[in-house]
């Protein structure tokens, strides 16, 4: 029905403002109606926007799929054309060969490093090594030894490390004078063929 419009403080100096009509209820109803309309409109707008976005997203997705399919078809076509091309076949074979050889090369390299580490683990006391060549799973060593004893000791140490000398070795040569480190020394030249040790498994 009614509601205070304002408070008159200090003896009622302010102007009174009675209105006996239930305009506040009407205002409240109109605000409720506005709010309801706002809710309905915002719901409709939200649903419309979501529907529109969904449609747009679906369209974009379909377009992307079509583009991807077209790209795949083009790719398949090109691959078919390339397979029948001689140069492409040659290059494919070459690539396969390189891939195959690459594995062997890596194994060989690993093996060489292991042999080198094992070889360096034996100190060449009284022996001067001029050349080491690794070929066909064999190590051919040539160098100079101070004496037969030094040479023999070094061979024993190599045998302990896993390098086994071949049965047929060149005969022990006589000592020769040679210049080494600006000094004239008398040493025995030798050539030795060693069989490589078995491949060590890494821990």
């Amino acid at each position: 029905m009614g509601c205070a419009r304002w408070f008159i403080v200090g003896g009622g100096q302010a102007m009174s403002d009675f209105n006996l009509l239930p305009w506040r209820e009407q205002l409240r109803h109109s605000r409720i109606r506005s709010w309801q309309w706002g809710c309905v409109l915002s719901s409709v707008a939200t649903v419309s926007v979501v529907y529109g976005l969904d449609r747009a997203w679906d369209g974009w997705l379909a377009e992307q799929h079509a583009q991807q399919q077209q790209a795949e078809q083009t790719m398949a076509l090109w691959q078919g054309e390339l397979k029948s091309d001689a140069e492409w076949q040659a290059r494919t074979r070459l690539a396969q060969q390189v891939q195959h050889d690459w594995v062997q090369l890596r194994q060989q390299q690993t093996r060489a490093w292991q042999v080198m580490q094992q070889w360096l683990s034996v100190p060449p006391l009284g022996v001067q090594i001029e050349r080491v060549m690794w070929r066909d799973q064999q190590c051919q060593v040539s160098g100079w030894a101070l004496s037969a004893g030094h040479w023999q000791n070094w061979q024993t140490a190599l045998a302990v490390a896993g390098f086994s000398p071949q049965a047929e070795q060149s005969p022990w040569a006589e000592a020769q004078w040679r210049q080494a480190d600006e000094l004239s020394v008398k040493q025995h030249p030798f050539q030795l063929t060693l069989t490589l040790p078995a491949l060590l498994a890494k821990p």
Partner: protein
């Protein structure tokens, strides 16, 4: 669109006496402080109204008066005759919220009204009682600190006006039949006070007295009420 929105809302004050009805339209903002509101008098042609509060003029009379006046306003304010209004004063606590206060006043009003509360329209206004404690000292059953706090609260009085809803509905229907919308029903003294305040704030001397044509058909008080209605109709 914008010009329509920015346009000042116009209202129509309607006053009915035994000889006819007077219409006054809200002054526009340009000349609000300078001139009299535009007004129009429509005399009853058949017979004078015996009692406006029990007998309503024909709605076509109002419609015709509006057409002749050329007024475009459709919102109407009318004054309540004093014999239809009931006035009460209640003491209320200042700690009440608006809803609580309304419920409290409704509970106070229901037993003193001559009609059921749902058949009445009422409005209230609060005023602070000067130099009066909130709680009488004789009703003390509280601790001293609580009593002091309650004493410190200002005391409020609610002035309540009520009228029968049927009269307001008849008034609203009368306006609707004439193509108008009743937006304000207020006591005559409130409209008269609004006009007097307007006249006091106005610099134009022409406002101090009613126009000559109006003095033939309206008393000074009726002119003040009509002017106050035309000023107050645009307020909510």
């Amino acid at each position: 669109m914008f010009s329509k929105r920015l346009r000042q809302p116009l209202g129509l004050g309607i006053l009915i006496n035994q000889r006819g009805l007077a219409l006054a339209q809200t002054p526009t903002s340009n000349d609000a402080k300078q001139s009299l509101p535009a007004w129009h008098w429509q005399a009853f042609s058949a017979h004078p109204l015996l009692s406006f509060t029990s007998e309503w003029p024909e709605p076509h009379c109002l419609r015709w008066a509006r057409q002749r006046s050329g007024f475009s306003a459709q919102s109407v304010a009318m004054a309540l005759p004093p014999d239809k209004l009931l006035r009460f004063t209640f003491n209320v606590s200042s700690s009440m919220g608006p809803r609580q206060l309304r419920a409290h006043l409704q509970a106070q009003l229901a037993p003193v009204l001559p009609w059921p509360i749902h058949e009445a329209l009422w409005d209230y206004q609060l005023s602070q009682q000067p130099d009066s404690p909130g709680i009488p000292a004789t009703t003390v059953t509280h601790p001293a600190w609580l009593h002091a706090a309650m004493q410190a609260q200002p005391a409020w009085q609610a002035e309540v006006l009520a009228l029968p809803k049927s009269w307001a509905q008849a008034c609203e229907q009368w306006c609707r039949q004439a193509g108008l919308r009743l937006v304000r029903l207020e006591p005559e003294w409130q409209a008269s006070m609004r006009w007097q305040q307007f006249v006091q704030n106005s610099k134009a001397a022409v406002l101090q007295e009613p126009p000559v044509e109006a003095s033939d058909v309206l008393s000074e008080n009726e002119w003040a009420v009509l002017g106050g209605l035309s000023l107050g109709v645009v307020k909510p």
